[in-house]
C-alpha cells in the first residue's frame, strides 16, 4: 500500500502563512506562482485593487520574496563588494535599494538591504560573492519570515489605529520594531508602489494574527488585498523596473548581452565608482566613459491605446527603429498613456514614434503615436515622502 496520500503533492505550490485569509478573499481564483508559492494575480478585479493602492490602502503578500540574513564581521565588506552602491554608510534601522552585477557589469537582480531581500533566489550568488571573506554567515530566511506589503494613502492611519506607536514618525526607508502578540513585528517604510506604504515582517506563526489585527484596524479605511496585476500597474506609474519586463537577469540570460547593465536601466545613481572595488566595476566604468547603447526611458504617449510590446521609431514612416517598449499601460490616476522603453541613447533627443497594435472586436489595428520623454516618475504624491504622511 502506498504511503503517498496525495499523488500530486509535488505539483502543488506552497501556501504562504497568509493563505487562509487570502484564499477566502480570492473571489476570482486567480492564482499564479512566485518562487514556488501560490500567489494572487488578483482577488476581485485588478483595477479596483489598483485604486485601493492609490486611494485607500491594500495588502500584498511578499512572503515569496527571497530574504537572506548576512552576518559576521565581514558581512558589510562582502556586500559592499557585491553590490554597486556604497552601503558602508547605511545606518542601523535603515533600508537601502541596491543592485548587483556580474563581472561584466550585467545586472543580476535588484533588492533591498536591511536583511537582503530580492525577487529571485540568490543563495548561490551570495555564496560565490562571499568567497575570500572569512567571517560571513548567510542564512536563507525566505521560508521563515512572513511579509506583507501594506500600501496606500490611508496605510499610516491604519497602522496607528492598530496601535503601532509613533509609526507616523517613521521616515521613508526607515525601520521600526514593535512587540506583537508576544513576538516581534518589524515595519519598514518601503514598497513597490511609489505611494505611501509600509512592509510588515513577522514570524509566520503570527502571520494570521497580524492579518486579523490589520484588517480589523483597516475596516473603515478601505483595506483590500491586491495582487500582481495591480502591483504591476502601480510600479510602472512609479517608474520602477520589473525583472522579465525591463531587465533579464544576467545569470538567466542565454544570448550575449540580452541582459542589461544598471547604467542602461537608468540606475546610474546606484553605482558608486568612488567606493572600493565591486563586482562589475571595470565593465561599468568602461560603459560610463563610452556611453550606454540603450537607455531605459519613461514615455508619455499620444492617445489612449497602451503601447504594449511596441517598436519605437525615429519617424512616423517607421524607417528607423530605435528601441522597444518594455512595459506600457493607461494610467488611471495620471490620465496618461505611459510606458517604459529601451531606446538607443543617441536617438533620445530626436522624435520618438511608437507603432501601437491593438485589437477592436477581433480586428487587428495599428497606429502611430508620438512619444514624449518624461524625466520624473509619472506618479509621485507628496505623501509618499512626507513625515508624518498625513491621514490620506
Amino acid at each position: 500500500m502506498s504511503k503517498i496520500k496525495d499523488p500530486f503533492a509535488g505539483e502543488r505550490l506552497k501556501e504562504t502563512p497568509f493563505h487562509p485569509r487570502q484564499s477566502a478573499l480570492n473571489l476570482r481564483n486567480a492564482w499564479s506562482s512566485w518562487n514556488g508559492y501560490l500567489f494572487a494575480d488578483c482577488y476581485y478585479e485588478a483595477e479596483y485593487e489598483y485604486f485601493c493602492i492609490r486611494n485607500q490602502c491594500g495588502t500584498y503578500d511578499i512572503t515569496p520574496m527571497q530574504k537572506y540574513e548576512i552576518s559576521g564581521a565581514d558581512a558589510e565588506a562582502m556586500l559592499n563588494r557585491m553590490v554597486t552602491r556604497d552601503i558602508s554608510k547605511l545606518r542601523k534601522n535603515r533600508v537601502t535599494y541596491v543592485c548587483w552585477c556580474t563581472d561584466e557589469g550585467r545586472m543580476i537582480d535588484d533588492g533591498t538591504i536591511f536583511m537582503l531581500t530580492c525577487g529571485s533566489p540568490s543563495l548561490a550568488w551570495l555564496r560565490k560573492s562571499s568567497f575570500g571573506y572569512k567571517d560571513v554567515t548567510i542564512k536563507d530566511l525566505s521560508d521563515t519570515v512572513a511579509a506583507l506589503s501594506f500600501q496606500g494613502p490611508t496605510s499610516c492611519e491604519v497602522l496607528k489605529k492598530m496601535g503601532l506607536s509613533k509609526i507616523d514618525t517613521l521616515k521613508p526607508f526607515g525601520i521600526k520594531h514593535f512587540k506583537f502578540k508576544g513576538g516581534k513585528l518589524m515595519v519598514s517604510r518601503t514598497g513597490f508602489t511609489g505611494d505611501l506604504g509600509y512592509e510588515l515582517w513577522i514570524d509566520p506563526k503570527l502571520a494570521l494574527d497580524l492579518w486579523d489585527a490589520l484588517y480589523a484596524a483597516g475596516e473603515d479605511f478601505g483595506i483590500q488585498p491586491y495582487g500582481e496585476t495591480a502591483t504591476n500597474m502601480a510600479r510602472l506609474e512609479a517608474g520602477f523596473i520589473m525583472p522579465e519586463m525591463e531587465f533579464n537577469e544576467a545569470l538567466k540570460t542565454i544570448h550575449f548581452q540580452h541582459d542589461q547593465t544598471p547604467l542602461e536601466l537608468d540606475l546610474g545613481w546606484l553605482v558608486d565608482f568612488k567606493k572600493p572595488h565591486f563586482n562589475g566595476r571595470n565593465a561599468l566604468l568602461r560603459e560610463k566613459e563610452k556611453g550606454t547603447e540603450y537607455m531605459l526611458t519613461k514615455l508619455d504617449i499620444q492617445g489612449n491605446k497602451p503601447a504594449e510590446e511596441s517598436f519605437l521609431y525615429s519617424d512616423k514612416a517607421c524607417t528607423k527603429q530605435i528601441g522597444y517598449v518594455t512595459s506600457a499601460m493607461w494610467s488611471p490616476v495620471v490620465k496618461a498613456n505611459i510606458a517604459l522603453a529601451m531606446i538607443k541613447t543617441k536617438h533620445l533627443d530626436g522624435d520618438i514614434w511608437a507603432e501601437i497594435n491593438y485589437v477592436k472586436e477581433l480586428r487587428q489595428l495599428s497606429k502611430m503615436a508620438k512619444c514624449t520623454v518624461m524625466k520624473k516618475p509619472f506618479w509621485a504624491p507628496a505623501r509618499a515622502k512626507a513625515t508624518p504622511p498625513g491621514p490620506y
Binding site: E47, Y48, K161, G222, N304, P332, K360
Partner: protein, 539 residues
C-alpha cells in the same frame, strides 16, 4: 481702468475650463463668481464638521479625459476613482444587484429571468453602439445645417460618415431611439419589471419627463455614454468630492495666469453699440473686457443679466421659452455609520456603491404625476451614492455621507411658494423612503442638507434648479442647443459667447461646453487653438 481680454461669468467647471483654455492662449482672463466658493454645481462643501458634501452633482463619468490630461488636472489635485456595486430596490423589497463582472452579473439576472439575462448583452451592445456615436460629438462644435460655410459642410460630412458606419437597421433604430420613451425602448429587451425599472431610471434623471415620456430614451443614453478610463458606462467619484474637479481646473487656470473673483455677482452684461464690453456687478462696479462669456444657463443669461433693449428681437422669447424645468431635488446626509440595506449582502463590493430606490416603472410614473400636479413625489425615485465608502477624504473614518438625488421635485408648488417647512417636509419624504429599505437608517443621521429646485436656483444659479442647464430633448440638442442658429457658442451680441451646459453637449460635468466655446473664441480672435482633440475617435 483695466480692460481684460475676456470676462467669464460663473466659476462653474465649464466657466473655469473656458477661462483656462483662453488663458493658455495668452489671453488676460477674469472669472467672476457670485458665491464665495467656486465650482457652481461641481462643488464640495463642508456644512457639518468633517463631512464634505458634493452638494449638487455627485458622480462623474463624462469629464473629457483629453481635457483632464491636457490641463494636467491630476497635478492640480484631481483623482477620479471608479465606484461599483449599485443595488436597485423594488417596492416589494426585491433587490437587483449590479455585479462588476460578467459571470456573476449573468447568474444574478438569470435568477430573475433567463430571457433578460441573455437580452442584457444585446441591450448593452446596442446602447454602446449609440453611445460611441454621440461620444465622438462631445468635444466638437456642432455644424450649422443651414450654413454653406466649408467648416459646417465638413462637420456635417463628419457626422454623416459616423452615421454611415451603422448598418441600415441600426440607422432606423437610432432615429427612432431619439424620440422614444425609456420604457418603450426597454420593452423590446426585457420582461422583468425590476430590470426594466433599473434600466429606465437613468432616463428620467434631471429631466421633467417620465419613464413613459417620449425623449427619455435619449436621456438614458446620456447617462451611460460616459466612461472611467475607457470603461464605458462606468461612473466615478472625484476624490475630495466634485469640488476637486473645479479646484483642479481653477489651478490650471491660475497657473496660466488667469484670475478668479469670488463674491462678485453680475447684475448686467454691458453692451455698447451692439458689442459686449464688460459686466456691471451687483455693487455697481464695472469690469471691462473685449469679450464676455456667459457660463450661466441660456434663460438666466438673456432674461436676468441682459437688458432686453440690447437684444435682437426673438432672442428674449427664445430664452424665456427655453425648456429648463426644475424636476429634481437633492438630500445630502451625514451618517454616524454605514447604513445596511435589507436583502443586500453585506460585503465590500456591493454594500458600498450606489442605491437606486426604484419601485417599478409604475412607481416612477406615479412619482412623475405628482410633479405634473405641482407637488413633490410622495414615493419618489431616489438615486443614492455613499462617496465616503470610497473616498477617505470626505468624512471622518467610520462615518459616512450619503448623496441622495430625488426625482421628482417641482420648482414651483401648486399650493404657493417654497418655504423652509415645505423643504423639510420634502426631505422627510426622502428619509422615510430610505428607512423602508434600511431599518435604523434614521438613527444614523447626524446632519442633512435638503435642496429643492428653489435652493439650487438661489444658491447655484441654475434656473429652476435644472441640473443640465436646460433639458436634453432633441429640440434642444446638438445644433438646436441652446437655440437653433446659436449652437456655435457665439451669441447674437458681438463679442459675447456662451460656455455653459446650456450649449452643446449639455450637462453632466464634461468640461466639453467650456472647451468647445474656447475653441470658437480663439478662432474668432485668430489665435492658436489650445483645446485638445478628444481621444475617443479610434474606439
Amino acid at each position: 481702468m483695466k480692460k481684460y481680454d475676456a470676462i467669464i461669468i460663473g466659476a462653474g467647471h465649464n466657466g473655469l475650463t473656458n477661462a483656462a483654455y483662453l488663458a493658455r492662449a495668452g489671453l488676460d482672463v477674469l472669472v467672476v463668481e457670485k458665491n464665495d466658493y467656486i465650482g457652481g454645481a461641481a462643488a464640495s462643501r463642508q456644512l457639518h464638521n468633517g463631512f464634505w458634501y458634493s452638494n449638487c452633482s455627485y458622480v462623474c463619468s463624462m469629464m473629457r479625459q483629453a481635457i483632464h490630461r491636457d490641463l494636467d488636472l491630476t497635478k492640480h489635485g484631481l483623482v477620479l476613482v471608479p465606484y461599483l456595486g449599485t443595488v436597485g430596490f423594488a417596492d416589494n423589497g426585491d433587490t437587483l444587484i449590479s455585479y462588476h463582472s460578467e459571470g456573476p452579473e449573468y447568474n444574478h439576472l438569470r435568477a430573475r429571468s433567463p430571457h433578460d439575462a441573455d437580452a442584457m448583452f444585446r441591450f448593452q451592445t446596442d446602447l454602446a453602439r449609440y453611445a460611441q456615436l454621440i461620444r465622438k460629438t462631445l468635444l466638437r462644435t456642432p455644424p450649422d445645417p443651414t450654413s454653406f460655410r466649408p467648416r459646417d459642410i465638413k462637420e456635417l460630412i463628419f457626422l454623416a460618415r459616423e452615421f454611415g458606419t451603422l448598418g441600415q437597421k441600426e440607422i432606423y433604430e437610432y432615429i427612432r431611439f431619439f424620440t422614444m420613451s425609456a420604457a418603450e425602448f426597454l420593452e423590446d429587451y426585457f420582461e422583468d419589471d425590476l430590470i426594466k425599472a433599473a434600466m429606465a431610471s437613468p432616463g428620467i434623471i434631471g429631466t421633467a419627463l417620465g419613464v413613459y415620456s417620449p425623449g427619455s430614451a435619449y436621456i438614458l443614453l446620456h447617462h451611460v455614454m460616459g466612461d472611467v478610463d475607457g470603461n464605458i458606462g462606468a461612473w466615478g467619484l472625484a476624490r475630495g468630492g466634485m469640488g476637486a474637479i473645479s479646484k483642479a481646473i481653477a489651478g490650471a487656470l491660475q497657473e496660466a495666469g488667469g484670475e478668479i473673483m469670488t463674491e462678485a455677482p453680475v447684475k448686467q452684461i454691458l453692451v455698447t453699440n451692439g458689442k459686449a464690453v464688460g459686466v456691471i456687478l451687483e455693487n455697481d462696479e464695472e469690469l471691462h473686457a473685449n469679450i464676455v462669456v456667459s457660463n450661466l444657463d441660456a434663460k438666466r443669461t438673456f432674461t436676468k443679466v441682459m437688458d432686453k433693449k440690447d437684444l435682437p428681437p426673438g432672442i428674449y422669447d427664445k430664452a424665456k421659452n427655453f425648456k429648463i424645468r426644475g424636476s429634481s431635488g437633492k438630500v445630502n446626509i451625514a451618517l454616524s455609520g454605514l447604513p445596511k440595506f435589507t436583502n443586500v449582502p453585506d460585503n465590500r463590493y456591493i454594500n458600498r456603491g450606489g442605491q437606486a430606490f426604484l419601485g417599478s416603472l409604475e412607481t416612477m410614473e406615479r412619482a412623475y404625476d405628482c410633479w405634473k400636479r405641482g407637488t413633490w413625489s410622495e414615493d419618489p425615485f431616489v438615486e443614492s451614492v455613499i462617496p465616503s465608502a470610497w473616498d477617505p477624504t470626505v468624512a471622518p473614518p467610520g462615518q459616512h455621507w450619503m448623496s441622495n438625488f430625488i426625482q421628482y421635485c417641482p420648482a414651483e408648488l401648486a399650493d404657493g411658494p417654497w418655504t423652509p417647512e415645505k423643504r423639510d417636509a420634502f426631505g422627510q419624504t426622502v428619509i422615510d423612503k430610505i428607512e423602508r429599505y434600511s431599518p435604523g437608517f434614521k438613527k444614523l443621521i447626524l446632519h442633512a442638507e435638503i435642496r429643492t429646485p428653489h435652493e439650487i436656483e438661489n444658491e447655484v444659479g441654475l434656473t429652476e434648479g435644472n441640473i443640465f442647464q436646460g433639458e436634453l430633448t432633441i429640440d434642444q440638442l446638438l445644433f438646436n442647443r441652446p437655440f437653433p442658429g446659436y449652437a456655435q457658442y457665439r451669441m447674437p451680441i458681438k463679442n459675447m459667447y456662451m460656455c455653459g451646459s446650456s450649449t452643446h453637449p449639455g450637462g453632466g460635468v464634461s468640461s466639453a461646453c467650456g472647451a468647445n466655446a474656447a475653441r470658437e473664441i480663439l478662432k474668432d480672435l485668430r489665435r492658436k487653438n489650445t483645446v485638445p482633440e478628444d481621444d475617443c475617435y479610434d474606439e
